[in-house]
Symmetry: C2
Subunit: 496 residues, 2 copies
């Protein structure tokens, strides 16, 4: 909505203000908060496609900026590849096409004419990018090649769609890197995990488990798949950025070759990485929100400070003037500030902007005018604080940072609390009821472990999420399913 | 390309360095500069689709930021609408569908299944957005609604494609505004022109003529179309951002209604605005480039300063260290800086980065080490200047701004020089041969002027571009085609 419209719109909807559902009714709360805070509108007339409204887009623009900066700092450069991919490109890597074929949207006509070859909307860009990589890479001097693109992808997922969690069109980043050696490719996978840590965890405040997925649950065409698994408030797992060691599968399929220092022609080693900004917003909404609505980390909040005039009789003009003066001051300090001059009551405004997740509220009234100060209220604690005007910038920034840290720490606590252990099947069933991850000793995440995984799936509707990637965990005894010697500790849980 | 790869790659292509074609052979020069500076690769296996390489994407990211900031400053808010539009949405405004139907890419299947209704890839987003506007707008309190989105669009244009000028997939911004009154909509059209002026002219350095298009050359569904027409170095016209007064055509078609203050239900007034970042880059490449290659305005250059070490015997390490120190210093000052530590000769590097359009080169060698200074060279003048380290930040910024101003002034001079007048048909033919715009007295840009426009088209392959929007120009006599009393002065030219 336009700023003005948004302020005015409020006037006629007072009765509607505030959240009806508590967060413990997570599913209803999640739908309500998305609708009421105007993050997205689900009424577009194509199933599974969201209209992203300003409140979410302003947030995702900030989220993109942090992610892109971190990727560029690590030597990636941005590119934009076509959204349309000819059918023949897909056929160049057998597992990949098999994995994605059921989900592809096909373009068959332009105007009234039938195309000579049908084209898919990209579900991911390997097959668009690697035909070009085959042209660009000739020599070891052309490596490493590290490219990312920020774009939309389309997947006609047959599962039920949920806003920001699973949809047929979503916004993400994909990084596609090429190296002369396996060793460098392996290092890249770890660098990608570090990027997830630096941005998703440290900035967005979403902690995660680093897991290597089992053989039967890899990205189509990958040698290994590593993921950042996060928890949702209802104890279900939401997969966040995954990074894949593609090995030489695609370079062979797409005939990407380079002449090495030793003058021999070789296939390079590839990795790809897929941080979905869109889905990370789901974690931010879900993990940081509370009964009153959204709570945005300060760094990515669309509006960081909302200024609300408290008008006393006859003082309206002076108060409004001061509010505008403070807004300008914060704007100049690069703090995203908005002022609510609508005709609603202060109480209505407090509720409205709390629901929308603005980290800091500043109240200015006749009392504040007299003391050259403002009243600052934090979204997380609700604590009120008098701040002298001259200290305002610093205090806002400190409060913002502190609030982000607090949200992150709370989310970390929730994750830690929801990692449990089970020593046998019965205990696994009991622990899974509590939600979260359950650690068990397991025979193998190689393909021979699949029968045991299927037993767990059939009995508990839960998946083997994989084994830790960031640390080696030694099993104590036998696989709790088949009784063979365990080779690894795996994490089990139910996913979105 | 990865930074490192890009540096190394140079080693094996020395013989290839520099531009072969002079800018006076504009068409060849334009193709060569796009390929050699790695702005785009035209070899993707779908006709009319570009692969945008890092050098152009880094530039367009900067261009987007300036444009989005200006739109937001003027009260627009960002949104993201679906890229897929059901056929039925198109049929809601008759002229619009007729105009775009031949260019639509149609999605007919997902996986193996035929869709119940085919969907088009958006060629522009009116028909995706206005179905939602009909749901969002209820009252005068919801107006004005000012929304923009940054996205790609797809048009299966049947004309010959040229990179950044005409293609089947391009990157743009579209603004879609709704007002309670015609007066506000009219004012918005002027505000859009001001945005074009502030960003395209003042920041990108591309001057333009503000023209109202004739009745027969409007956007499909618009009441009036206003454009920013720019010149290319070969004297042909390239249309840049257009803004359209849509009147109530779409609000009636899409049943967007609001209850006004007088309690009556009314159709609101709409405008739309389409700044194509992608095409504006074509003007930047073309207008600012010279025989040596690209010249980017400082504000949008992907790299603003390139640092090149000049190594004396035995001083390599000390020089490299100083180069890194200066890079960090500029980086901290928010100046986009890169250092070229490849094994190429300094001369090779000078040519390479001049070709790529980097505004400022800094040379550091043993001489500079001794005097705590650097040598600064401007891309536009080639003038060398010693700068003390302590003055470097300020000097770089001043030189950058000055260079942008110079590029803009040159482009303004070119446009001014290429506006000519003609008093009769013969003179029109002669003036058109020189390229640029030719002003003539004309009967009318309403539909009754079409026969005269067609005569000009048949005889000279030139179009009536329209009459001035920013100032009233009075005709002196009769239409130079039909001899009837002229009602306006129009601009004639040949377009891309």
């Amino acid at each position: 909505m336009g700023k003005k419209a948004n302020e005015r719109r409020g006037d006629i909807k007072r009765e509607d203000i505030g959240m009806k559902h508590k967060k413990k009714n997570f599913s209803k709360w999640f739908s309500e908060v998305i609708a009421k805070t105007e993050l997205a509108d689900l009424r577009y007339n194509v199933k599974g496609f969201l209209v992203h409204m300003p409140w979410s887009v302003l947030t995702m623009k900030n989220m993109y900026r942090f992610y892109e900066d971190e990727l560029e700092r690590k030597g990636h450069q941005p590119a934009w590849f076509p959204a349309l991919i000819p059918e023949s490109n897909f056929k160049m890597e057998a597992e990949h096409v098999e994995g994605f074929a059921p989900e592809l949207f096909w373009i068959t006509h332009s105007g009234d004419e039938k195309l000579t070859e049908k084209m898919a909307l990209r579900p991911t860009s390997e097959t668009a990018m690697y035909v070009m990589y085959a042209k660009w890479i000739r020599s070891w001097r052309d490596l490493p090649l590290k490219i990312y693109q920020s774009c939309q992808v389309w997947r006609c997922d047959t599962k039920a769609t949920r806003p920001f969690i699973r949809g047929r069109e979503f916004h993400w980043i994909e990084g596609h890197d090429v190296f002369a050696t396996l060793k460098e490719a392996d290092a890249q996978v770890r660098e990608d995990m570090d990027t997830t840590e630096k941005v998703m965890h440290q900035i967005y405040g979403i902690p995660f488990l680093q897991l290597q997925r089992p053989e039967w649950d890899k990205f189509p065409g990958a040698v290994h798949t590593y993921v950042a698994d996060t928890l949702m408030p209802d104890g279900k797992i939401l997969q966040q950025p995954s990074t894949h060691l593609l090995g030489q599968n695609f370079s062979k399929g797409f005939r990407i070759k380079f002449k090495d220092k030793d003058e021999n022609e070789k296939y390079p080693w590839q990795t790809c990485y897929g941080p979905a900004i869109w889905r990370m917003l789901a974690s931010i909404i879900a993990m940081h929100g509370d009964d009153k609505g959204l709570r945005f980390p300060y760094e990515i909040a669309p509006v960081q400070v909302i200024i609300i005039p408290i008008t006393g009789l006859g003082e309206e003009k002076r108060v409004a003037k001061k509010c505008k003066e403070i807004t300008e001051k914060l704007d100049k300090g690069k703090i995203r500030t908005r002022i609510d001059l609508s005709e609603n009551t202060p109480g209505w405004k407090f509720n409205q902007w709390e629901m929308k997740g603005v980290p800091i509220r500043i109240e200015i009234g006749p009392k504040e005018l007299k003391t050259r100060s403002v009243t600052l209220v934090r979204r997380d604690t609700g604590r009120k604080q008098k701040v002298l005007e001259k200290n305002l910038l610093k205090t806002v920034e400190r409060a913002g940072k502190d609030m982000s840290k607090k949200l992150r720490t709370e989310a970390e606590g929730f994750l830690r609390k929801n990692i449990r252990e089970a020593r046998d099947l019965k205990e696994l069933g009991e622990q899974l009821k509590k939600g979260g991850f359950v650690k068990i000793d397991f025979c193998s995440i190689d393909i021979e472990g699949l029968p045991c995984a299927e037993k767990i799936k059939d009995r508990f509707h839960a998946q083997i999420r994989g084994k830790r990637f960031d640390q080696a965990e030694k099993p104590k005894g036998k696989c709790i399913i088949c009784g063979k010697p365990a080779t690894c500790v795996v994490y089990v849980g139910r996913e979105y």
